[in-house]
Symmetry: C2
Subunit: 366 residues, 2 copies
């Protein structure tokens, strides 16, 4: 790699403050060093092996979390305990999960008989067995009801060749963004009650329930201390975003979008080359870093329109940085991170799992 | 390519109804067949050579429009007249534009002395000359004021070695999304008056002004009939989106996001595997295609939460399609299109210009 400084980076680009990222990683590892509950960092937040390796080096983990089969295929190169914290639906994808059992301890979430039977069939065909967690609907997006419905699916899993029941999962997504701690705690406890109340139901039925997986960055220090939760799937903490920065959690914003001013169309505005294509706005407009009084007016496809004070000296050719509002989809737009120590580029880290590997496989076959 | 049908496509994925796309292309080409004003289709909408080639085959064009240098480097393989309809700022990017003059007639927009001098310096260094259009600020994101400020920059361009003044550009972006035709027309005419009033100012000063470039899909049949406008930079018409579909323009929605239902967490909701990572929401949530009473409640990173009527039979494993609200950034999320005739896949088309080529060049150097 050629040595570079911040000034040499072609824009738009994602840059990481490596020191801030390392502090975030250490703080989270320290929090989970003690309790019986451990960390399972979510790979989907950054999609970048160089970052995941640093999370693993810090300890306090039981494995990594992935959102997709394609992510798990990448993570299997450096971690041997993986949870795909989603339903895996489709014969092709189930076959790929079965293949992964030859390399790593892999588990997926299930919330339907259809999904359970499909993954079991793939495992049987491959002569292997796949771990499953029954996902409980605790108010966000997927899952079966707690208690009886969960027990019925768990029984089916226990009876079926090709799958191994490992426990339960739930995601208290509704609680994650709540800014006031007492309200966030109440929401997390209420949601997780649905998950935790199902644990004894399984145990009383003689079914295994070794893993109870939940949580995220916003609730890591709430859900991670609830008796019965065995692991927390936090991801955003490592680099953060402006949405999570509003919470009282001890993590720093550690990445930003670097842009170049291309126009100053008026005394109170500048246009930079970082729009929708380099920064999402699904959690609100990004914030402008380190420029007093500057704010993003709107994003166009290739441009950020930024309102500035009249005496702001920004002019074409100058650099700006935006703090993204939502880490995961913003990172998904880029192919690499530029890793910085101060102004020095110490690495260019491929965001290997961005997009959909299935599509690139199709393309390369042509 | 292996023959496939819609049912075989791994999800999430972008699919194109090729017949609808061809109808859109033909309709736009027919509109511009007659007038003195011609079409300069905008490559940034789809970023896909297979589609651009079809647009060129339909005729009525003067060249293609690009948003970035990286797009122009791809387009130069099959089109010899390119306008980069943005400021190009940065020595590296300017040097790449200079390099492109060896292969094609290339023009860029300028709106500052800094930008003009930087591109001229790159051209001089390469022993070439680069075409420039002075961008007039007509209310959207960039540009100098009409009249005197534009004349001053045009004079500087005419005097400077390494650049060749070709004309003017303006983008009436504020008018594009206005649903009522009379209001859209009034907004477009008002904005373009600032552009068109500057044409005689240049001519009276003895400066060339052969190109007057403007427009987009929403105003193609308004701005494209205004005397003095020589070309229209429309892009979205070829595949459309739900925002442009609200306008009274004769184009059909021709692409959608294909997803798979992964969960039915309640009688009135399903979860599909197509979220922020496969469909943007910067112009609003996508719409659900062909399912009566279904609507997107929200997008999560990997999931669309869809509200459905209780009697809707959707279940895990079934397919759904979403109509995106904004074509450009949604397509930018994917690596390929699956091109369909009916249910048959007739091609897998690489979205070659997605993301930032600069980042992939860095990566491959490692």
């Amino acid at each position: 790699m050629n040595p570079r400084t911040l000034a040499d980076i072609p824009t738009p680009a994602l840059i990481i403050d490596v020191a801030a990222m390392e502090r975030n990683i250490q703080r989270m590892a320290e929090f989970f060093a003690e309790g019986p509950c451990k960390l399972r960092p979510h790979f989907k937040a950054h999609k970048t092996p160089e970052i995941a390796r640093r999370q693993l080096a810090a300890g306090s983990w039981v494995g990594l979390t992935c959102a997709t089969v394609a992510e798990a295929e990448i993570v299997a190169d450096f971690c041997d305990d993986i949870l795909i914290a989603n339903q895996v639906i489709g014969e092709g994808k189930c076959a790929r999960v079965a293949e992964l059992t030859r390399r790593v301890d892999i588990k997926i979430a299930v919330d339907s008989v259809f999904g359970l039977e499909q993954i079991a069939a793939a495992a049987q065909k491959a002569g292997t067995s796949i771990g499953v967690l029954v996902e409980i609907n605790i108010g966000f997006r997927s899952g079966v009801g707690p208690g009886e419905p969960a027990l019925a699916l768990a029984r089916r899993a226990a009876d079926l060749a090709g799958v191994e029941l490992r426990g339960l999962m739930g995601y208290e997504g509704v609680a994650q963004p709540i800014e006031e701690r007492d309200k966030r705690e109440a929401a997390a406890r209420s949601a997780l009650e649905r998950l935790l109340s199902t644990v004894p139901v399984l145990r009383e039925a003689g079914l295994p329930c070794d893993i109870v997986s939940a949580g995220g960055t916003g609730t890591h220090d709430i859900s991670g201390r609830l008796p019965g939760v065995t692991e927390i799937q936090a991801g955003s903490y490592v680099l953060m975003d402006t949405a999570y920065a509003k919470l009282d959690i001890p993590f720093e914003k550690a990445f930003s979008v670097l842009g170049t001013v291309v126009s100053r169309p008026s005394a109170t505005s500048v246009t930079a080359d970082c729009g929708h294509k380099s920064c999402t706005q699904d959690h609100g407009n990004p914030e402008v870093r380190d420029i007093e009084g500057a704010s993003v007016l709107f994003l166009a496809d290739e441009h950020a329109l930024i309102t500035v004070p009249q005496d702001c000296p920004l002019k074409p050719g100058d650099r700006v940085q935006l703090w993204p509002s939502h880490i995961d989809p913003t990172i998904n737009l880029h192919d690499v991170f530029y890793a910085l120590e101060g102004d020095k580029v110490i690495g260019i880290w491929p965001i290997v799992a961005r997009g959909y590997a299935e599509q690139r496989m199709e393309w390369s076959k042509e």
